[in-house]
Symmetry: C2
Subunit: 508 residues, 2 copies
């Protein structure tokens, strides 16, 4: 395309009625002509004056377009001699370098790497495909009976907002930049005070590390404590999110059964100590049983003797409706083997994204470095608001209020279950947490029930989705009651009960 | 210890003047006596009435302690027959299971796994040690001349606070719970509008995924697109944080040199296409050059032919002081090979922790699932505040104001360098970003200069810390000027210049 044709082509392409400004249109068209080769390298462009006249636009527009083309390397201009299309064609020798014979100087092993057998290029990796295929995350995060979600409508948003406004009024610049590894110190102090009393943990404020939640806490511990290929015990069933984090870090999962006393490793599990064990002793997720004291002591002693790291996920431990909350496993650990992780999302609101971990004293400096290195944390204003919220007593009073409310809702749901099914379908789990598990008969298919319930406007999660292997799955449904207003529980359960009955008739 | 001795021991241990309430003390002491075996399994405890009388405390306190001991499994109580210490001793057979001979029924390969050779048990893993050893994160995050930090004191905190207060006034519960994969939709729309104009990217709002920043964006892409052992090109030198994320996910790094035109792969690099390449085309980090158009086109064509994923980190691209910002690499990509990542931290304030990525259309659904599965995102209120901030025009006006300010500061720093060193020490990098690189002579040791500067109250980062291998390191200092008030630049540089001069005399 010579410059006369260029002017004609541009004149035809420019759309004077379009929303896109003339400058952008001209720039885009010139770039396109150069990238496609319509304007060959070395072509001299018309002067800005000529092109402006030809296109009947302001000369300044053309000058700016030429400047930008020069800055981006599309054209070369030298004062006096004009503006030329630069040679920016891809270097074909470089693009095709792989097709050359392997360099004879390279060692054989490297040369053989030059043509690896890859089937999945251009798509997700095997790791990525597994992750997405097994993903447990739900498309909807709210409504009857979404498990694991507290009632955010009950959160004292005005109190939070007042504390927040106070802190932002004269925002301290130190709180707007990156966080030092570990997080905002007053929050760490407030949390260690709270956890010592509420969860019987043993820790100093220095041992507390603020994270964005359970996921990040587990991610950090696993990156720092395991190598690719190491084995980790996970409870069977367990939380899908933790499983995805571990697996995508190259850790091999060893599912270990649970019974009424919690984690119950088999002989062959015990003979082959894992590198790490991830447990939910206060309230097994998702089944809800409490790990017995004898099992806790055995696990700690086993971990000590065989140098096994324990990650204690102290999930939902604040919400117990019968007895007082049980003490943490961490509080019994004398050997520095336990990494304790928890989150404030269920106590306050999930969108908060603030969690904490307690690292053993001999690891805490390196954990602090790790959290800053891997995640480049910030959010100190947010952490400062939370610290004030806790120190003013709002955390404990909100948890106390929610414990009463969720206990009521749990009872309403259990009454509805009993009214519909009598003792036919068992309710599993201790009196704690934000959900219960409704057992289904062995011939049922909980994924089908879940899909049918979704169509009927009720969200549940299938218990089988929480199992790693197919071998010992139990059929059941997780029903979250915490986020459902009291008066809606009965009606929503009626809808669900119809779906269950229909499905059970279909597969007798 | 029989029950009479128990009463005496408890009476001696209880500290009536202590801050710890009597209930907690008694509970802790009884637990301790049981855990240490002082109270053997099967021992009958005194009745609550007897113990209360012996200890001269309220009977109710003892009843509550016994209830809690029962709930936690320390004791067993049956109405009528009294309360007995439970047998919670660790199961020694389980603890010592590993010492048994391997099960002859297990296949040989499993049996051999039963006693793996591990040297590092009880400490960080090899992955963790490497991560902490190589960590690039600085202990201080603020002050002259901390690189990569904007001036947060200039952030319009009042505007932000006003928008925030408005949204929190009647907090929408939907914004307090977990985020759907991808983030708050109006923010994604605002960002896609902004990026299309400012960065010439090609994307719809659906392709935008909100993350907590560059680290999380890279983490997600690498987990989904690579397997353990895959190779990734990284620029040499490059950003330490990205390197740590990649390495701890099991990816093998291939450092590729950069020259004045950006990434410059050698023949043997080209012969062995990587799975992924991480580049900073707009503004190489940390050296600051711009990738030429020819190199961009070559990289894209090479990536297309050999199915190489490209992660484009569009770092600091908003802050250019000479020419207009250059277009993104993503905007030239027709093959869906580029994952574009960026962050708002440098534009607004680092503590914000909101970033974004643009996924190719054929991957975006799976990326959205991945972000929800791996990180369980929330922070929708925060995202909503940011969306309003952008839509009201505050982002562009703040960036415009900061661009002028940082340009001034850059010039003041360059003038100070020239006044002290003339042309003796080169200033590297294009006129862009929040820092510049001051080259040091080859015989200098930039880590030593950094340490000496720190002692003199000036923060700099050594250029050599950004190199992966030792082979081609250049000595230099990263000086961040953006966060230093104009009037402090000269004085801080004088202090630094003294340190540099002293060190250069020491090693001639």
């Amino acid at each position: 395309m010579d410059t006369v044709i260029l002017s004609d082509w541009l004149a035809a392409q420019l759309d004077r009625g379009a929303a896109e400004p003339g400058y952008r249109q001209l720039l885009r068209l010139m770039q396109q002509a150069i990238l496609t080769g319509q304007l060959a390298p070395g072509t001299k462009l018309p002067s800005s004056r000529t092109l402006a006249t030809d296109l009947r636009i302001a000369r300044n527009t053309v000058v700016h377009v030429y400047d930008q083309l020069t800055a981006e390397g599309y054209v070369l201009s030298s004062t006096g001699s004009g503006t030329y299309v630069a040679d920016t064609r891809p270097d074909t020798a470089a693009v095709n370098a792989r097709k050359l014979a392997p360099d004879p100087d390279l060692p054989a092993s490297t040369a053989s790497l030059a043509a690896p057998a890859r089937c999945e290029r251009g798509d997700l990796s095997a790791r990525g495909q597994r992750l997405i295929h097994k993903a447990g995350v739900a498309p909807k995060q709210w409504g009857a009976f979404m498990p694991g979600v507290p009632d955010v409508a009950e959160f004292p948003a005005r109190t939070w907002s007042r504390l927040q406004a106070k802190l932002w009024k004269d925002a301290n610049p130190d709180l707007l930049t990156y966080a030092p590894g570990g997080g905002y110190r007053p929050l760490r102090r407030a949390l260690s005070d709270y956890l010592r009393v509420a969860r019987s943990v043993k820790c100093t404020p220095d041992q507390i590390i603020i994270t964005t939640g359970i996921h990040q806490s587990i991610d950090l511990a696993v990156r720092l404590l395991t190598d690719v290929g190491d084995r980790a015990w996970v409870e069977e069933p367990c939380y899908w999110g933790a499983r995805s984090v571990l697996e995508s870090l190259g850790v091999r999962l060893v599912p270990v059964p649970v019974d009424d006393e919690g984690l119950n490793p088999r002989e062959h599990d015990l003979q082959d100590p894992p590198h790490l064990a991830l447990v939910t002793p206060s309230h097994q997720y998702p089944l809800g049983m409490v790990m017995s004291l004898a099992r806790r002591r055995t696990l700690l002693e086993y971990a000590r003797q065989h140098s096994v790291w324990i990650i204690e996920d102290d999930y939902d431990s604040e919400f117990r409706y019968g007895s007082r909350p049980l003490a943490s496993l961490q509080g019994l650990d004398d050997a520095g083997q336990v990494i304790y992780v928890g989150s404030l999302g269920k106590m306050l609101f999930p969108g908060l994204r603030i969690g904490y971990m307690i690292a053993p004293e001999h690891l805490v400096d390196r954990f602090r470095t790790g959290v800053a290195e891997l995640y480049r944390e910030g959010q100190l204003m947010h952490q400062a608001v939370l610290a004030e919220f806790i120190m003013d007593g709002h955390l404990t009073s909100h948890v106390r209020r929610m414990r009463a409310l969720y206990g009521e809702r749990r009872q309403i749901l259990i009454d509805a279950i009993t009214a519909h099914f009598g003792a036919e379908l068992p309710v599993m789990g201790d009196e704690a947490g934000l959900h219960l598990v409704l057992g289904l008969p062995g011939h049922a298919n909980d994924r089908e029930v879940t899909a049918a319930a979704y169509d009927a406007g009720v969200i549940v999660r299938p218990l089988t989705a929480y199992y790693h292997s197919e071998a010992h799955v139990r059929q059941g449904l997780l029903l979250g009651y915490a986020c459902v207003p009291n008066e809606r529980i009965g009606k929503a359960f009626s809808a669900l009960a119809q779906v269950i009955e229909k499905t059970m008739v279909a597969c007798p």
